[in-house]
């Protein structure tokens, strides 16, 4: 049954992707992106990665859709069809896919007791993190203490990204405010 659910969800995922590629109305594409994220979230849940699924649903289907619609409101929602060379793109995609499949074939099975993830530090985290760190949740103690520097780096990256976005959006609203106070002709920026 799990295999069937997986296969069906992946088939829907493939159909969504093809539709996204072929769609020329960008707002409809945005809607399909939302469906894609929801499908990915369902796949993640089937794969037991509930936290990843949660992030995918909230960021992918929630915030991203809204941000993309806001972008389309500024940029216009029509896609110009440009002549493209398709053969190099197909070659790159096929080679990348082959490399990824080759990489995945080297991964240990799900739940394999001899997998590296369950042999090295896993035991210490499970058995001693409660007394060593004093936090009942193992994931929290790993993220906030054992891998504290890693988390600090991530926070720095996200902070930098946030600063960049604030700079970009701040400039945009100033421009729009000026335009609105001026005439209604609204020249394209």
């Amino acid at each position: 049954m799990e295999f069937f659910v997986n296969a069906f969800l992946l088939a829907l995922l493939a159909a969504t992707t093809i539709a996204i590629v072929r769609m020329r109305r960008l707002i409809a594409t945005t809607m399909l992106f939302g469906i894609f994220s929801l499908l990915m979230a369902a796949v993640f849940v089937v794969l037991d990665a509930v936290d990843v699924a949660f992030t995918e649903a909230s960021v992918g289907a929630g915030i991203s859709t809204i941000l993309m619609l806001a972008t389309l409101a500024i940029c216009g929602a029509k896609q110009e069809s440009v002549p493209r060379k398709q053969l190099p793109a197909i070659i790159v995609v096929v080679v990348t896919g082959a490399v990824l499949l080759w990489g995945v074939s080297g991964l240990p099975d799900v739940g394999d007791p001899t997998a590296p993830a369950t042999t090295h530090v896993y035991k210490r985290y499970v058995e001693e993190s409660g007394t060593e760190i004093g936090v009942p949740n193992i994931v929290t103690s790993v993220l906030a203490s054992y891998r504290g520097y890693d988390t600090l780096g991530e926070v720095a990256v996200i902070f930098t990204a946030g600063l960049g976005i604030i700079c970009l959006i701040g400039a945009g609203t100033g421009q729009q405010r000026r335009r609105r106070n001026g005439n209604d002709s609204g020249d394209d920026v």
Partner: protein, 103 residues
């Protein structure tokens, strides 16, 4: 029992996806995305019982909230165009007659 419900949900998801792809209007697609989100929530809840670990029901509830907020935001955007305070989009919508027909 749960198997039947799961299969029914998967078929419904396929139908909603077909509606989102075929359209023809944007409102069909918004409704399809909303339906799809609801079916995802239900699938996650039912799948928990199917695999005899119903721990994900609360997460499914949070999904339902996100889905609701997202749909309201999208509809507010289409209704008023106020979302990004963009004059251009509003003008384009008025000029295009706001049909939302597909090409």
């Amino acid at each position: 029992m749960f198997v039947v419900v799961t299969v029914a949900l998967l078929v419904t998801m396929g139908l909603a996806l077909a509606r989102a792809i075929v359209g023809p209007t944007l409102y069909d697609r918004i409704l399809a995305v909303n339906t799809f989100g609801t079916k995802t929530v239900l699938l996650i809840a039912v799948y928990g019982y199917l695999t005899e670990r119903p721990d994900f029901v609360d997460i499914a509830l949070v999904y339902a909230l996100i889905n609701f907020i997202g749909t309201v935001a999208v509809l507010k955007f289409f209704e008023s165009g106020e979302f990004a305070h963009s004059w251009r989009e509003r003008r384009e919508r008025v000029e295009a007659g706001d049909t939302g027909d597909d090409d």
